[in-house]
C-alpha cells in the first residue's frame, strides 16, 4: 500500500503471464536514458587515458587492447540491458533478479582491466554485491510471504496489502549493496579504469536502479 502512481499513470502495461512490465512516465524516462547510454557503449570507442610519469617529461596514453575492449563492451551492453529490464519490470522478484544481474555486470566491466588497484576495488565491490543478494532476495521472499503477491501493480492498486517497513528497508539495503549508492568508495576506485563508455555504464546502472527502487518502495 503506497501512494497512487508516484511515477505517473502507466501509458501501457505489457503482460508476460504473471509478470507485468509497465511503462509510466518515470520508468519510460529512465528506460530511454539506459537505452541511450547503451547505444553509446555500442558505438563509442574507448578513450585513451593520458598519464604523466612523475619526475620526468614523459607521458603516455593507455591503450585498451582489442580483446579487452570486446569483453568490456559485451559486459557494458549486458549491463545496459539488465538496467533497462530493471527499469520497466513490474514484478518484484524479477526486479531483484535484474538488479543482481546489474551487480555482477558491474564487476565484469572493470574486472578485465589490467590494474591491480582497480581489480582490488572490483573484488571488494564484487563481494559486497554477492552478500547483498541475501537481503535482496530475502526482501522479495518476505514480500511474497506477507502479501501473497509479487506484482507491483497489484500492490499499489490493492490497499489492503501492506508491506512491512523492515522489508522495504531490506530491499533498499540489498539494492544499495548491488549498486553501492552511498558507500561509493569502491566504485570511485573502479572509475580510475580507462575505457569511459563502459565505466560509465557502471555508474549509470547503479544510479538508475537506485532511482527505481525509490519508486518501488513508494509504490508498494
Amino acid at each position: 500500500m503506497g501512494m497512487d502512481n508516484p511515477g505517473g499513470i502507466p501509458y501501457f502495461i505489457l503482460e508476460f503471464g504473471d509478470e507485468l512490465v509497465y511503462f509510466s512516465p518515470y520508468t519510460v524516462s529512465l528506460f530511454i536514458l539506459a537505452l541511450v547510454f547503451t547505444l553509446f557503449a555500442v558505438i563509442a570507442k574507448p578513450e585513451r587515458q593520458v598519464d604523466i610519469v612523475f619526475g620526468g617529461d614523459a607521458f603516455y596514453a593507455k591503450e585498451t587492447s582489442l580483446a579487452e575492449l570486446k569483453f568490456r563492451r559485451f559486459m557494458a551492453i549486458a549491463c545496459g540491458f539488465a538496467s533497462m529490464g530493471a527499469m520497466v519490470t513490474g514484478d518484484l522478484f524479477n526486479f531483484t533478479l535484474f538488479i543482481s544481474l546489474v551487480g555482477i555486470c558491474n564487476v565484469g566491466i572493470v574486472a578485465a582491466v589490467k590494474n591491480r588497484h582497480v581489480q582490488n576495488a572490483a573484488y571488494q565491490y564484487g563481494i559486497v554485491a554477492l552478500s547483498a543478494t541475501v537481503p535482496l532476495f530475502g526482501a522479495a521472499a518476505l514480500i511474497a510471504a506477507t502479501t501473497g503477491t509479487l506484482s507491483m501493480v497489484e500492490l499499489w492498486s490493492n490497499a489492503s496489502l501492506a508491506v512491512p517497513l523492515v522489508v522495504k528497508a531490506l530491499l533498499v539495503l540489498g539494492v544499495m549493496g548491488e549498486g553501492m549508492a552511498p558507500f561509493y568508495a569502491a566504485k570511485a576506485e573502479m572509475f580510475r579504469a580507462p575505457g569511459a563508455p563502459y565505466v560509465i555504464m557502471c555508474s549509470l546502472s547503479s544510479l538508475l536502479i537506485f532511482l527505481r527502487v525509490i519508486e518501488v518502495v513508494l509504490v508498494i
Partner: protein, 280 residues
C-alpha cells in the same frame, strides 16, 4: 515552449552571473558583469573547436546533447506540473553527465573530476528525504497537487522547514564555488569540464543555465506554492543571493569531508523524516 526554453537558458545564466557578481562583491572584488555567463556561452560558441585525440569521440559529443536534453525535459515536467520524482531522477542523472564529461576526454583532470563526482553521489540522498517529507504531508508527488496543497494550507516552507533546508543544501552542492562543489574545484583546473572547450563548453553552459533555472524554480514551487511568474523570478534572484553569501563565506571542504558532511546531513534528515512519519 521553445521561447520559454530560451528564456530559461538566458535567465538561468543570468542567475549564475549574479551569483558570481555577488560573491565577488562580498569578497571585495569588482567581479565580472552580471551577464558574463551569457557572454561566455556566446563566446565559447564562436571559438574554434575539435575533439581531443585521446577522447572517446561519441561519448565526448553525446554527453553534451544528453546534458541539454535531460534538463529541457526537466523544465517541461516542471511546467506541466508532473511528478517531482521524475525531476529528481533527472537531477540524479546529472551525475552521469558529470561522469561522462570527466571520463570521456582521457585527461587526468577531467578524470579526477569524474571520480570525485562518483564519490559525492551520497549528496543526492537528502533530496529524497526531503521529497519523502513533502510526500508525507501532501500525499502526492505531483507538483500540481503540491501547489494545491499549499493553496489550502499555506507554504510548505513554514510547515516543514527542515526539508527546505535539506533541499537548499542540495541546490548549494550544485552551485559553483560552494563548499560542496568538489567536482569543479580549482586544483583540478575546472574539474570535469576541463577538456570540454569551445562549442562543447557552450553547450554545457546552455545546460547549466537550464539546470539553475529548473532547480531554483522547483525550490520556489515546492516550498512557496504557485505564485505568479514575476514573484517566482524575484524569489529565484533572492535565493541565488543567499546561496552566494553561503558560497562566498565558506571554504571548500576536502572531497571526503564533503561527503561525510553530506552523509551526516542525510542521517539527520532520515531521523527527521522517521519522526515526522511516526507522529504525523
Amino acid at each position: 515552449m521553445i521561447g520559454y526554453l530560451l528564456f530559461a537558458v538566458t535567465f538561468g545564466l543570468l542567475l549564475l552571473g549574479i551569483h558570481r557578481k555577488a560573491i565577488a562583491r562580498i569578497q571585495r572584488r569588482p567581479g565580472p558583469p552580471v551577464w558574463q555567463e551569457i557572454l561566455h556561452m556566446l563566446k565559447f560558441s564562436f571559438k574554434s573547436t575539435w575533439i581531443p585525440a585521446t577522447a572517446s569521440d561519441t561519448l565526448f559529443v553525446g554527453v553534451v546533447l544528453v546534458a541539454i536534453g535531460i534538463w529541457s525535459a526537466a523544465l517541461f515536467v516542471l511546467l506541466a506540473g508532473g511528478s517531482i520524482l521524475i525531476i529528481f531522477g533527472i537531477y540524479m542523472l546529472h551525475k552521469i553527465v558529470e561522469h561522462g564529461f570527466g571520463l570521456s576526454s582521457g585527461s587526468p583532470y577531467g578524470k579526477f573530476g569524474g571520480v570525485r563526482s562518483v564519490i559525492s553521489a551520497a549528496s543526492e540522498i537528502p533530496l529524497f528525504v526531503s521529497v519523502a517529507v513533502v510526500a508525507l504531508y501532501t500525499q502526492s508527488l505531483d507538483i500540481s497537487s503540491i501547489i494545491q496543497y499549499q493553496n489550502v494550507h499555506g507554504p510548505l516552507l513554514f510547515i516543514v522547514p527542515l526539508a527546505a533546508v535539506a533541499m537548499y543544501l542540495v541546490i548549494l552542492s550544485k552551485m559553483p564555488f560552494g563548499p560542496f562543489s568538489i567536482v569543479e574545484s580549482k586544483e583540478l583546473v575546472s574539474g570535469y569540464k576541463t577538456e570540454h572547450f569551445g562549442v562543447w563548453r557552450a553547450g554545457l553552459q546552455v545546460s547549466n543555465g537550464l539546470k539553475t533555472y529548473v532547480l531554483l524554480f522547483l525550490f520556489i514551487t515546492v516550498f512557496m506554492g504557485g505564485i505568479p511568474l514575476w514573484w517566482t523570478l524575484a524569489g529565484m534572484v533572492v535565493l541565488t543571493l543567499s546561496l552566494s553569501f553561503v558560497c562566498a563565506l565558506s571554504p571548500m571542504l576536502s572531497p571526503f569531508d564533503s561527503v561525510t558532511v553530506q552523509m551526516v546531513i542525510t542521517g539527520i534528515m532520515v531521523v527527521y523524516a522517521a519522526v515526522l512519519g511516526v507522529f504525523a
